[in-house]
């Protein structure tokens, strides 16, 4: 062990493939490529990984943390305790170093003198600034390139395969050969520095694992965007807002690439950056009315601004897809923190009666699938549909199954062309012909002069004529409610497990991942068996009701303060309300397993105790 490494009594032997690595830097410093290189290299070693970026709501200069968890057991929820820390940010170094448990590995820029703060961790002081000078001549680039040095340092320290790091670099800089060279050098410098200066073996290491599955590494916003493009979206209108912007930006980007004819230069996807969310949703409502598959993407404040128009969409029965990448509310809240906080708002959006279908993807693969499914659902039901993602899903990189090409053709729902119309007797735009509440529609501009109708958000009868008659209104409201019933057979069923025990856990979206780990913990460490239902959509299917009915006690785990999903379940299943108990996590960070199992374990439930 040379001077650069100081070790206290490090408890325990070397731990393999079970570590949480955190890089503390400054935002705007370009560490993202380095972090993703690490993540990708670990991923390609067959290791189950997850990466969480914690960044402030500003553009440059404030502390940022990137945390990678490697879990041989396959858990992807974050863990509270970090065991490998890289300190590069003077502003947060002391806090960062003090936060890790004894025995952790701490790598830091030597001038930060982190050895002042702890003597119960493995300290590796690296002269990052010196090293970067050696490998990177252009002064302006050093700020960026320095990050690759810690990639090298970690590679050597914890045993990442150099070949995988190289490949990850190649991918990242595929079109920038000069940058590739510089970054390669930096990685090499890090590796070599460790080889020359550090003899001690890291207490945390990684080793290649065999992965059966074919997986990809992608963020949820990208996945949702791919889903939209393969759903055949034709009009996208949006307004920038964190953390949803990259949904729209990626749709637009994919549109440029795959939906613009390379020869004619013409596109089949119209994208408008609107002046605000009112306009964005107005455009997609207008587009959907005229027959486009339309969509917008937004987050909390945008949802609020879309409220009036969504009511119009509901009442005038206009299909559109709204992707809501939730962030911490209320109001502006924490724009760069995650939450499942718009559940009630989305499902009940707008004044007056009415509820809207919502889909809750829990990983990028589902974000892809549900985004795609949302279009068929919206057009099938002729109503706005929400895809409720969140910042954690949307902006972090996740291991996920590759996107599967849709086996079913696009389904536009009950759209009549001239021929179809001719076959219908006594067609009425808002007539329930099939008993499912969903009427038949025609698309504006039919060149044959038939099927035109007048759309309005005020009272209308089955033939789309203006009315102020109570009976017409009642009929419409009942039919709209019937559509919600119909929706139950079309939305994704929950993924469930049980009934086997009296205690059930219910979660959805990104809350899922902490539950997976918590259930193992409850069973393995505490002897508490739990069933589990992962909800995937509103309205709730009968299977949800039945599953709850089969359990005495159901813990609803969600990421908000008010217990919004528990409230929604209670509203829909009033007789089951007493069984539902909230387990909440709402500090703006993705939840860890402990947030789930601790309250459940603390909750002295006799039946559970008996079963243990």
């Amino acid at each position: 062990m040379n001077e650069s490494t100081r070790a206290a009594e490090v408890p325990g032997p070397v731990s393999v493939n079970d570590l949480t690595l955190r890089v503390a830097t400054v935002n705007g410093s370009g560490s993202q490529t380095a972090n993703n290189t690490l993540l990708r290299a670990l991923f390609h070693m067959g290791l189950p990984v997850s990466g969480k970026n914690l960044f402030p709501s500003n553009i440059a200069g404030l502390p940022t943390w990137f945390t990678i968890r490697v879990s041989g057991d396959g858990y992807v929820a974050p863990k509270r305790d970090v065991n490998v820390l890289v300190c590069l940010n003077p502003a947060s170094a002391e806090d960062d170093v003090r936060s890790v448990p004894p025995g952790s590995l701490v790598v830091y820029e030597e001038t930060l003198r982190c050895e002042r703060y702890r003597d119960d961790v493995v300290l590796v002081a690296v002269p990052f600034q010196k090293l970067v000078k050696e490998v990177c001549e252009p002064v302006a680039l050093r700020k960026l390139v320095v990050n690759m040095i810690y990639v090298g340092v970690l590679t050597e320290l914890i045993g990442i395969e150099v070949a995988e790091v190289k490949q990850a670099l190649d991918k990242a800089f595929a079109h920038k050969p000069k940058a590739l060279g510089l970054n390669r050098d930096a990685v090499r410098a890090g590796i070599e520095w460790v080889r020359e200066n550090v003899s001690r073996v890291s207490p945390f290491r990684v080793e290649r694992m065999a992965r059966d599955e074919d997986l990809i590494l992608v963020d949820g916003n990208t996945a949702a965007a791919v889903g939209c493009v393969f759903a055949g979206v034709t009009v996208l209108a949006w307004y920038p807002i964190t953390p949803s912007s990259s949904v729209a930006e990626t749709v637009a980007h994919l549109g440029e690439r795959y939906r613009r004819d390379p020869e004619t230069g013409e596109t089949t996807l119209a994208v408008v950056q609107a002046e605000d969310e009112l306009a964005a949703v107005g455009m997609v409502i207008g587009a959907a009315w005229a027959g486009a598959r339309s969509m917008t993407a937004t987050s909390g404040p945008g949802i609020s601004l879309m409220s009036e128009f969504v009511g119009l969409g509901y009442f005038a029965e206009i299909p559109t897809v709204i992707v809501n990448v939730q962030r911490t509310g209320p109001s502006t809240g924490f724009p760069t923190r995650t939450q499942q906080g718009d559940l009630l708002s989305a499902a009940n959006l707008s004044h007056g009666d009415g509820r809207h279908p919502c889909l809750y993807p829990s990983d990028p693969h589902e974000a892809y699938e549900f985004a795609m499914a949302a279009f068929d659902l919206a057009e099938g039901l002729q109503t706005p549909v929400f895809v409720l993602s969140d910042l954690d899903l949307g902006m972090n990189l996740w291991m996920t199954k590759p996107f599967e090409y849709p086996e079913e053709p696009i389904c536009r729902g009950k759209v009549l062309d001239a021929e179809g119309l001719a076959k219908m007797e006594d067609w009425g735009r808002y007539k329930d012909v099939d008993g499912d509440g969903v009427p038949y529609r025609t698309l504006p501009g039919g060149a044959d002069g038939v099927g035109a109708y007048f759309t309005r958000g005020s009272g209308h009868d089955a033939y789309a004529r203006y009315t102020e008659k109570g009976d017409d209104y009642i009929a419409t409201m009942q039919r709209l409610a019937l559509k919600l019933e119909t929706a139950k057979s079309r939305v994704p069923e929950p993924v469930l497990d049980g009934p086997g025990t009296a205690v059930g856990l219910l979660a959805f979206g990104t809350s899922h991942h902490a539950v997976v780990e918590a259930r193992d913990h409850l069973r393995d460490e505490l002897g508490i068996e739990t069933d589990y239902l992962r909800l995937r959509a509103f309205p709730f299917t009968d299977s949800v009701r039945e599953w709850i009915e089969a359990h005495e006690r159901v813990y609803v785990f969600e990421q908000n303060h008010d217990g919004q999903m528990r409230r929604m379940l209670t509203m829909e299943f009033p007789s089951l309300g007493a069984r539902l108990h909230s387990v909440l996590h709402y500090d703006g960070l993705p939840p860890d397993a402990r947030s789930v199992w601790e309250p459940i374990a603390l909750d002295a439930v006799p039946s559970v105790k008996g079963g243990a």
Binding site: F230, G282, M283, I285, S294, Y453
Partner: protein
Amino acid sequence: MAGPKTNRIGLPVTDYRGVSSTLCKGCGHDVISNTLTTALYEMGVEPWRVAKMSGIGCSSKTPAYFLGPAWGFNSVHGRMPSVATGALLANRTLIGLGVSGDGDTASIGIGQFVHMVRRNVPFLYVVENNGVYGLTKGQFSATADEGSRLKDGTVNDFAPIDICTLALELGATFVARAFSADRKQLIEILKAAIAHEGFAVIDVMSPCVTFNNHVGSTRSYDYGRNHEGPIHEFGFVPAWDHPEVGGGGEDTFDVPMPDGGTIRVQRVGRAHDPRDKGAALRLLHEDAESPEYLTGVFYVRAGKPPLPQFLKMVEEPLATLPEARVRPTRETLAEINESYR
């Protein structure tokens, strides 16, 4: 036996009418609906290609009162522009025609109006301007003139928003003003606007007989009759009448329209040349100071690409493209997957 009289696409005028109006007798808006009926009939517009849009208000109800066989959308208050923008993107073969009120456009709707102008959405936007909110019983709107009075004597303290000036400033390429009682001129303006490509706005003074037609109002029929100042006399000669250059004789000049029609201006009085934006702005700024109510086509310019062209959209309606054109291939998805491996 001769059938009913028809227009050049063989339709009777009844195809250009709507359900009967529920507005107050004498409302300026009804005159505009009737004038639209005539103009659309005479221009031989195909009704089923028209998307009639509106917001909320007495004015916004009127799309139901003309062109029955067209597609109508009476959306929400002040947000017609966004809905229309979306509709015209979904199907660029639609003919976009909107009716809005001064409250709907200039009060709640001014933001969307501004941005619609900027985007040059291909759309004929008619403002039925009565200076008040008719449907909510006569409060002042943002176009009410400073110093004008409500029936109960309330005086408006704020400067009006001038739809035409604003549209011009924001780059609109067809900007006109009219008075609903001057049907003759309004028909010609409407025809020219229908012939225009891109965004066209017509600000029409349309008296509210119930709430703003009294002495002291600057939007009453009497006020209009006493103050109307046409900036030119002109007619629209449609393409199928084969307007020759100079066909109107020496005392006229012609402004050709992209559809082959022509605006033919008489060289009398002011004879404002609507191609001259500077002159238009000067007229409007003078107007702001004078009590005269200038009418006519302030500005027209061809050639600015409307939104779908800007975006380089395919010619066909996006709404009905077959799956093969909107869902990328299996190979593309494989390529995408590969990029995330």
